[in-house]
Symmetry: C2
Subunit: 161 residues, 2 copies
Amino acid sequence: VGAGVTPGAAPATERLRIGDVAREAGVSTRTVRYYEQVGLLPDVARTAGGTRTYGRRDVEVLVRIRELQTLLGFDLDQIGTVLAAERRMDELRAEWRAGSSAARQAQLLREAMAINQRLRAEVDAKLTELRRFRRDLDTKAKRYRTVADERGLDLGGPGAP
Amino acid sequence: VGAGVTPGAAPATERLRIGDVAREAGVSTRTVRYYEQVGLLPDVARTAGGTRTYGRRDVEVLVRIRELQTLLGFDLDQIGTVLAAERRMDELRAEWRAGSSAARQAQLLREAMAINQRLRAEVDAKLTELRRFRRDLDTKAKRYRTVADERGLDLGGPGAP
DNA sequence: TTGCTCCTCACGTCACGTGAGGTGGC
DNA sequence: TTGCTCCTCACGTCACGTGAGGTGGC
């Protein structure tokens, strides 16, 4: 039973525990459990003893959640929307041969593309803001050096007593 | 008494109420009061009736707090450190003629430059991450279009029934 | 059998949001 | 005098952090 699953190289059944996925994704185990609780990490499998087990895919989801949080400042609700669309895109790959209607597939694609475009817009806005912020920092740094020069202050270079 | 303050054009005594500074900085009045409570906005003046009054400088501080929060993800404690250093730089401008020692001035400058450098490093790291994130989004967008093409899906352009 | 990791409450924290009830200023 | 804004509690929320006390798996 289930002998012909993924004839690839790596073991498809590689199971990780919560400490492993947390470490690889750079979050706490508490965070992983919390994401499951609020629905961002659904269908987490368990061993007979109750220990949660995860796959490689879950690590990617965790990393993605963190990116959307720290890079774009989304809350977990907005992140859920993004993840849902991406999950549906994965399903679409399966449904392709399963034979869902072309109209349904086009619908899912439109949705994914809309979200993709929204994300790109947000990233571009963030990039613009960050570049301006960076320029302001440069200006300040230059001003500091000018002041030090004008007042003849010794800032103590690396190697001068 | 106090007749010769700032011989410039604009009224130096322009006083704003909490709703004004909040609106201009793009935050809530609750947020402004909270920042005062945790020490990010010290020495807020009051009218006889108890109404808080602010100056132009306070708006700038609020904007700066928001930048450090949303752009770099700092918590209010870290932001306090940054603001403190910048406040000391402002004082340095005053102390210049007040005659603080050169050693003291050099000390303040070093501190400000160190923080400036740290901020620049963080901004650069963020920029790198965001650019990679942006590339990933582009790759995905391209893949979506390819899939739509291969499967001959009609995504319904803007103006086609 | 001994550690280390896992489990479930459950209270704490940070950065505010959101009324509740009352006073102030153009 | 009428609105609108301001004030101070104070409880609620989001996204977790942090033990407390107990069980599981190499």
